[in-house]
Symmetry: C2
Subunit: 486 residues, 2 copies
């Protein structure tokens, strides 16, 4: 008898009896799985959705519920706030955000369809207040809809695409919009007759010749054989909670300590690769440390342990954080003047490392050699007074002289501060969410989306909030549709 394994599809010829039969089997009940289920059901398929937890959520449920949307002249919220957003600019930004890992076909597909996707989300019942909240926010603390959630207005992105805010957040008071977002999607899926089986862990795919035709699922301590007449959708999330996989594919994440995920153990990636799929860009990860809270800290200047700047600090907080984690020495400093300093949030575990009435005093207190940090700040301030940053092209008003002491240096320590992270690498899929084999051909019957794939948020240094949920929800839909079509 064949072994039941994540790493090798089970032969259909050895299935003696099917415990369940459906058109489309979906594995994972975060936003990806929910959107796949809705779309497959709308296409007329019988859909079964298997989730290893006792309810929906996944990593999507832990998120801010923010979806990156733009193009086609802008959403209602963008236009009401005075932002036109051309499809060309939107796609150009998506591609720049993908950096060296970009999947151009996905950027183009989503770029053209994002406004329709927004309409679709609303049709599922996702509420949007429709208003714009200016400023720099990780998530809105009220129930606003639209925020700046990336590096759109910062160099080099602002030179590549006309900036617009594109972070569209479910109407929800305060942080944590991901949970209500999944709730809405779950309700929609249920209303369409999707059969949801919780406490059901996928153990193996089932293959008949070259086609994936089902899945083995562990339910109530029993292996259940599920026939999927039209297709299987992997929607299982990334591998941030799997230390062995991180060691093999993404070891830089061991510099930091706060994985964000639910049961994101990479099982969908294993299932897909075992079926002949291709895991790509596995070293990529998102990270952020909440250094822009309070918002006044966004006016600070970052230096590394050599007293050098390394980024234009008006970029998205996650891009700045990701570049910080590249720096040698295990920590970076956020430099602030008294006008901008506020005690950081406790949960950030960001401590004061030095203070002084001059930058020379701060430099000495940090134990940095003379003329390092102090010269960095003298050069920065001289240019900031002229409204320019010739080193990194930071823009006003975030670019402002920090020359009136007293001053403070906050330490963002990679090991002790709160650097949350999740993985971005995964299965290579087409722009229609087909899992591709190593030669680039779709594997019949197998679809995937979200963080078990490499998608829109392909490159850690280019991440923007909402890119992952855009990817999950939009390509989740493509996966459901593809599977329903068989």
């Amino acid at each position: 008898m064949a072994e039941i394994s994540l790493h090798d599809p089970y032969p259909a010829s050895e299935v003696t009896a099917w415990d369940h039969e459906t058109d489309v089997a979906i594995i994972g009940f975060g936003a990806t799985g929910a959107c796949a289920a809705i779309e497959a059901a709308d296409a007329g398929a019988k859909v079964m959705l298997f989730e290893r937890n006792s309810g929906s959520g996944g990593a999507s449920g832990l998120s801010g519920g923010e979806i990156y949307i733009g193009g086609n002249g802008g959403t209602d919220a963008q236009r009401a706030a005075g932002f036109e957003d051309s499809t060309e600019d939107f796609i150009a930004y998506l591609k720049a955000a993908g950096g060296p890992c970009v999947d151009e076909a996905k950027c183009e597909h989503y770029g053209r369809e994002a406004l329709n996707h927004y309409t679709w989300l609303k049709a599922q019942g996702v509420p949007y207040r429709g208003n714009y909240l200016p400023g720099k926010h990780i998530e809105p603390t009220d129930d606003s809809t639209l925020i700046w959630s990336g590096s759109e207005a910062a160099a080099p992105f602002c030179n590549i695409a006309k900036p617009a805010p594109r972070g569209h957040v479910i109407q929800h008071m305060g942080w944590g919009g991901g949970r209500p977002l999944v709730d809405v999607l779950e309700a929609s899926a249920r209303s369409k007759g999707v059969e949801i089986i919780p406490d059901a862990r996928a153990l193996a795919l089932i293959r008949d010749s070259d086609r994936i035709v089902g899945v083995v699922v562990r339910i109530d301590g029993q292996n259940r054989f599920v026939k999927a007449r039209r297709g299987v959708v992997l929607a299982t999330g990334g591998f941030v909670m799997n230390e062995a996989m991180r060691r093999k594919y993404c070891p830089e994440t061991f510099r930091i300590n706060d994985p964000i995920g639910d049961k994101d153990d990479g099982s969908g990636i294993e299932l897909g690769v075992g079926a002949g799929g291709d895991a790509i860009h596995m070293e990529q990860f998102f990270t952020t440390c909440p250094w822009t809270m309070p918002e006044s800290h966004a006016y600070g200047v970052f230096v590394n342990a050599q007293g050098q700047r390394f980024i234009n600090e008006d970029c998205y907080h996650g891009r700045v954080s990701r570049c910080a984690v590249d720096q040698p020495g295990g920590k970076v400093y956020l430099l602030l003047d008294v006008a901008h300093f506020v005690q950081p949030m406790d949960f950030a575990r960001i401590d004061i490392a030095g203070t002084g009435d001059s930058w020379e005093e701060v430099e000495a207190e940090l134990g940095l050699p003379a003329y390092t940090l102090s010269t960095t700040m003298a050069v920065y301030n001289a240019h900031a007074k002229e409204g320019r940053d010739p080193l990194f092209d930071k823009k006003p008003p975030i670019l402002t002289p920090l020359d009136q002491g007293p001053f403070v240096a906050l330490e963002l320590n990679f090991q002790t501060s709160y650097f949350s992270f999740f993985t971005l690498g995964g299965l290579r899929t087409s722009a229609h969410a087909e899992v591709l084999d190593r030669s680039g051909k779709p594997i019949p019957g197998l679809f995937a989306a979200g963080r078990c794939t490499s998608g829109l948020p392909a490159w850690g240094h280019g991440y923007s909030s909402g890119l992952s949920l855009a990817d999950c929800t939009f390509f989740g839909r493509q996966a459901g549709l593809g599977a329903a079509r068989g």
Copy 2:
């Protein structure tokens, strides 16, 4: 009939007739394949070696023929030059060189066995003059044996392991010792009765149940089915010549333009993954720009396009180059005084970007903002006079003030200067060169070594010359031995 594919082993049950039968089939005739063949033949196996080119060589034949060897108190050459080299220090360096990608078991295995390996190489006929050539050399320009070939004496490595030179070069006048090294290994393999079949390209592995039992090889326009009773060894090199694979797994290499390789198209990685293997650390690559030629340039200081230092320049030239390629802006500058400047080698394509009687003048000529490069150099020089480098811990004598003009800034441009590179990621193998499946278990009958695996040179930032050939030759031997044992 099953398809013949790199991506999926061909079923033995469909082989109607075997064209060749052997105990061990080896694919690839660089140093790895040659060493595997010798060891398998010595273990009593009938060995056939298939090479797609018309002769031996592979990327090994393009190399300097330098092998990283130490430990156990030191080789004859190390001891004659006054360097003791404990196994503990040697292993500690190997592990540090592997960085976040380290395979500790391989470091320990090789670390204990390297001196025996040196003896074995000599027994095959590899000549070593036995002398030590001090200084900083990419390869000896004479026929010397022992050179510093890594970052042993530089921080942080010198704080982790007692430094010793460990680059052991075949006795050969001038650069290019790789070709004669492979010649010696080829002669040894032939003398042991290894059957060598050139112009033979591997198309697919052959599997019987869970075991690899042979290989399909294209010879004279025909598919030939080769039965390997005991094992198959993959020794096909990396994927630097395969742009599609680089795009998927190692896109940062598109910042630079000079791949070093022969037909390194990743076919062995594809064969291994298709058989259930696991490709790891695929984003890692070695690069170097020959900036230490002439040797006086080793005394220079590197700054990035922001005028900042980024590395202790006394590290191995490849480590400095790899860190250079991480810098924003597409180029870095090597700063020299007139006492150390010599016209760079033509092939390096390193041009003069600016000159001046003071660092302020150089700064202005490069178009850098005032007080950036000039302050960097003022701080550097002030500390160099005290014999210290508090920023990066560069050591004397390479650490020396550059304060007597005129000065020159050489531009190392990622797109136009000569940055050679090759890939380091590949199959995950055990310390005995067994190809491991995704759950970590050996795939019966399948072995691999060299650059189609992730081995001793696992991390681009820690590469040292000789690590790759150490890995190829030593783990090539393990692969041959393992295959011969069946």
